[in-house]
Point group: C2
Chain length 243, copies 2
């Protein structure tokens, strides 16, 4: 049991939850390592939603609301960390929720879909085809789902897939704590923030953003600026670390 | 199978090895997350031994050679990543090798000791007592081993233990890619480098360092300088990331 007054309570509880989900197969072993990389970068932005991340999250809401076929792609880590938050965002923006896995087995897909449904999400399920230009099992998706999406939210994604989706002409919204990753660099919009902090802000923005603000956010989207601001935050924090 | 020409081949192979060792119980689930955090910081120092890390590694050799009772403390991640390198260092500096685990079970201790022996290490084993001023099972060690050490190498350690060992008056050598961690800050000497790069350099230095150089390294040890150099390297790399 982790004592609630531990300075790193939230981070340790999250880590335990992931370890538990790794034991039952929802999270891949490699997903635990990926989570650790995220933790390091989260530490460097001060484990808070920065000002530039907030802009990115509001812009994500504007993109999802303006989309014809918005899709939220969910993998093991996302389901383990944020099934409830995914369900909340779906209600606010009307996106399809579809499972897409790097380490894919039918059993894992079924487990993750069940976890999402228990959390209140409607999952776009059923027979999948190998439609994305990717090797491995990440190619599997539904023709009327991910394949037809114009805007796709890919939290905690791998670089190949973010790149392939962008090359298909889709607007890709990534949530990635590492501003240097290929995913972060190739996405249309990158949210450098921790997933369970980012999703509720996107959801609230979907509910609150006036039409005028949405248009302004879309018109001024500059992902290079957002990434460089995230990097600047990290640099500042690192430089003062030994003060 | 990861293709050997993959740009991140070494890192991916290491990650696979850890995942395998997590499945058979040698590595704790939490150890995978910890490895991921290390990867992020390793990326920020350019996945190479920096000049300041090289000084730290040579100083570590000088400390181990000058010790009366040097001990190398081994946990699951260290054994999974570097059992052979630990055995090599033991031969070069004559330290005791002793297993100490955060997530301790008799079975894990036995598995890790067997892995180390297979790699050529002589393991200081047998009945342990709760001798270190720590809660949890990290307190367990041997009276004539870790408890009596004057210099102790603790690769990939947790902050509490590094702190407790230092408070017992021991000289603590940490290998930690995160220069901001409590382990890094509390150790007598912190090597900010990846373990399988760091250990062979320490081993080679044990073999090659002239007595005069050893004394000079010990006299000029300045851990604050070493940490700030590591941080400076990371800051520089981050700042140029979007160039």
């Amino acid at each position: 049991m982790i004592p609630p007054d531990h300075p790193r309570y939230r981070s340790l509880v999250t880590r335990e939850r992931l370890a538990r989900c790794a034991k039952n197969g929802i999270v891949a072993m490699e997903g635990l390592t990926a989570h650790g990389r995220g933790e390091a970068f989260d530490y460097l932005i001060g484990e808070r939603t920065t000002e530039s991340a907030l802009i990115a999250e509001r812009t994500a809401a504007a993109m999802l609301l303006s989309a014809r076929n918005p899709v939220i792609s969910v993998n093991g880590n996302t389901a383990a960390l944020a099934a409830r938050e995914i369900a909340g965002l779906q209600k606010a923006c009307g996106a399809l929720v579809e499972v897409n896995l790097f380490h894919r087995t039918e059993q894992r897909v079924a487990q993750i879909e069940a976890l999402l449904r228990d959390a209140g999400a409607e999952v776009h399920s059923g027979a999948a085809e190998q439609l994305l230009p990717l090797s491995h099992d990440r190619a599997w998706c539904r023709r009327d789902g991910m394949f037809s999406a114009d805007v796709i939210l890919v939290p905690l994604e791998d670089g190949d897939r973010a790149e392939a989706l962008a090359a298909m002409g889709k607007s890709v919204i990534a949530v990635d704590l590492n501003p240097l990753s290929r995913t972060a660099q190739r996405a249309t919009l990158t949210i450098v923030d921790e997933l369970t902090r980012a999703l509720p802000v996107i959801t609230a923005s979907c509910r609150e953003l006036p039409e005028k603000d949405r248009r302004a956010l879309l018109a001024s989207l500059d992902n290079h600026y957002l990434l460089s601001e995230a990097i600047r935050e990290m640099t500042v924090r690192l430089s003062h670390a030994l003060d």
